[in-house]
């Protein structure tokens, strides 16, 4: 085995996980290949498109721009952690209701970004929503249905608070 491999421990979607990684291993590859969480997609691996966005200790990060060893000890949330065992969470449900996706490849990253937005600003207006989503590229939807979904989710989540 490569002598530089290090063992890291992190909490992923509420569960404690370990992985043995080279220092150069990206968090995205660790999540997808070592921990089997392939919902996080790799759109560019250049830090631009936002498809690989996950939440680390409450803030979104591009998992292709972070080494797995940097996440040692962190609390990581991915798209797989959003839904309960059977039900979609309110943001996912709103994306379904408003067709906030077509091919679905950028969707996990969009959902994580939408969650962060709504946690920090429960009632974003359209411009704030578009601004918050403008770090995530989508090639299919023209964004409008995503914006609609996020705004609908904000109303939904708002009622719950």
């Amino acid at each position: 085995m490569n002598p530089t491999v290090r063992t890291i421990e992190l909490t992923v979607n509420g569960r404690r996980r370990h992985a043995a990684v080279e220092p150069r291993r990206l968090l995205s590859d660790c999540l997808r290949e070592d921990l089997g969480l392939t919902g996080t997609n790799l759109g560019c691996e250049q830090g631009v498109c936002g498809s690989c966005t996950v939440s680390v200790d409450g803030s979104t990060v591009r998992s292709c721009l972070m080494f797995a060893v940097q996440a040692d000890g962190s609390d990581v949330r991915t798209v797989e952690g959003l839904a309960g065992d059977s039900a979609l969470d309110p943001v996912q449900a709103a994306f379904w209701e408003h067709q906030g996706l077509q091919c679905g490849f950028c969707t996990p990253g969009m959902l994580m970004t939408a969650h962060e937005l709504l946690e920090r600003n429960p009632t974003p207006d359209e411009e704030e929503t578009r601004e918050a989503l403008s770090g995530n590229l989508c090639r299919c939807t023209g964004y409008q249905h995503i914006v609609d979904a996020v705004q609908a989710a904000s109303r939904e989540v708002g009622h719950g608070r």
Partner: protein, 803 residues
Amino acid sequence: MAVDEHAPTTGVRWIGRDLKRREDPALLTGAATFVNDFALPGMLHAAVLRSPHAHARITAVRTERARELEGVVAVLTGRELAEVIEALPRFCAEEVVEHAVAVDKVRYAGEAVAVAVAETRYLAEDALDLVDVSYAPLPPLVDMVAAADPGAALVHENLGTNVVFEKTFTHGDVEGDFARAAHVVHRTLRWPRAMAAPMEPAGAVCAFDRARGRLDVHSNSNMLNFAAWVLSATLNLPPEQIDFHPMYTGGSFGSKHLPAKAIAIAGALAQATGRPVKFMEDRADNLLANDAQGPDRLYQSALALDADGRFLSVRHDVMDDYGAYFIFAVAGNTNAMAQTTGPYAIGSCETAVRAVLTNKNQQGVYRGAGSDVGNWALERLVDAAAEDLGIDGVELRRRNLLRPDQFPHKIPTGNLYDSGDYPAVLDKALAHAELEFWRAEQARGRGQGRYIGIGVATAQQRSTYSSTEFWFHNPGPFVGMSTTAESVRIGIGPTGGVSVTMFSPFWGNSPETVVAQLVAEELQIDPETISIGYDSTAHGLPSAGPGGSRMTVMLSGAVRGAAAKVREKMLQIAAHQLEASPEDMELADGAVRVRGVADPARAISIADIGMKAYWYKADLPDGMESGLEGSFTYDHPYTTLPSDDRTDLGVFYPVMGHGVHVAVVEVDVETGHVHFLKYLAVHDVGTVVNPRSLAGQIRGGIAQGLGVTLMEHVRHDAEGHALSGSFEEYLMPLASDVPTVEVLHHETPSPFTAHGVKGGGEGGRMIAPCAITTAVEDALRPFGARVDALPITPDQIVAWAHP
């Protein structure tokens, strides 16, 4: 060929319903398996080394150091790979040979020069760092005009020229119409190289069973059956020994019809190593070398008008930069000939096509497939005529629109428009456009140093291609492929459950939702109860997959045919059981009953019929085969062959949609920013099957059209180095760039298709550039700006305003 005529469907129950997509939950939870999520035991990973030079001889490739690295299984040069597989598929008649990895010479920056395959992708990339390539640079051909010069260096020496194709297509009395014209407007127009760039790059996992000589391909090809056939020659295997498996496709827009290089590389390495191999393009691979760059055209265009402003003839002299290879020949130019004359009554037309090879990644297919450019060039001419003649642009368009009583309408090229009511679409757009309000705002704004512009475009969106468009540009007589079929299988099980199989994969639209609605309509059952899946090519029926806005049309026809077979058998079984005549039976509410009779004693449920069909032969009519399924292969609904002299190109894109877009923009002349105040799209794509899915296609297409109009551009420096290898360099629209789009429909059913459906997958992208260009030009009228080239960059806007 037969024309499949029927009356428009009335009294439908499921078609037209605004149902949520059944595809979505798997995608929303991360459960969907894209090709990069797919793995096989013992799978290796490949990576590709790319040329930094646009044009160079490869004088040496040394791979020894790379091979010695622990975990590396093989490192192959182009020459070595060419011993395993043949050249890539090509549809051009010309001898333009492309290999998955370059042999002896590289023809664009980013072309593959070596591949490494290793236990991990990291190790494969490490190996590439240890490959030494020696190049002898050749003069880079970056400008197509210079490349067309007889003295220029050659991209392919065997051709003796870089002008790989040159032909003038004349339809009707073009010379006479221009001679008798009262006005002729001319424009030199430049459409920029853009590219599909789906969020998911192309990739494949290939596994070769040496004992059986069989290759399994898990890829994001969206043209499975076709890919298996055309790639069999590349992969050196008979088609029946290749099984292409359907995967979720993370967007294509034309770029994943074949993904020939990704499949060839993974397939070759699987054969060479005997282990499963994954090759996924990374983003640079995709942007530099995916072969899905769009048209890159220089137009010299002219429109002839009579004294009343009626269009007589349109003429385009097109030079098109095809890049280093020529996979689909000039299909991007012939595609536009489906609608050269747009929605207008124009008696003749001519397109001269000069295709030039240069040192760039080659053109492939990108949403619109060249008709996007044709629309833009024609609408530029119409705006130019309006300006020159002092006629309002909307009035000039209305004066020339085809009338509803002129359909079906054969245009000069030979293609046929099936149906339409273009004045009604324009009326609907104007009823919602509030043009008077915006004209007043524009006038008011100019007094305040605000620059508001209004653009109205009326344009075509051809749908449902026939394969003749891929060969009719070659001299006749020649008969090439003459259909492009799509199939569906419907099975009803012994408990009455309905399962449907498709043979083209999910690609980002909503094939499962749409097929469920169509089957529900045909069998009068609840779409939620229908199970839908996909099958691989080894078990598959003919299909060609999404492209040219064909899928909803073709699936509608295939479902109707397959459903008719199972319905007929159910009626026979029920009639036999109820001692009635099959002609007196009908399907309603999950049962077959005597027509119009609600008596449950005179009905038999689909579940009971299924049980009898599978397990109770004694209850079936004499001689009936057990089982209950129907397959149907739906051919293109209306194709005619081109004439030998090609004065008539034949009917090849007859299912003709139409649309009117209205864009209102405000241009900041200090920053060059274009801000949208309004965007309205009224489309006629026949009968709408699922409104929300269609609206998604329209809005997504408009965003891509906005991209090519205002920002997207594949650029190269003077040495031919690609300047678009990342999303930081190749700018695509963000959420903050794209306006809210109001979408309305006018439905003119097609007389040729099941339920009157027309294809709507490309119209947004095909029409948006026309309206946005006109709007920006209108905003900058005080500066005398004339938009003849895209993209309209902030720099350009500022330069116009501050000369």
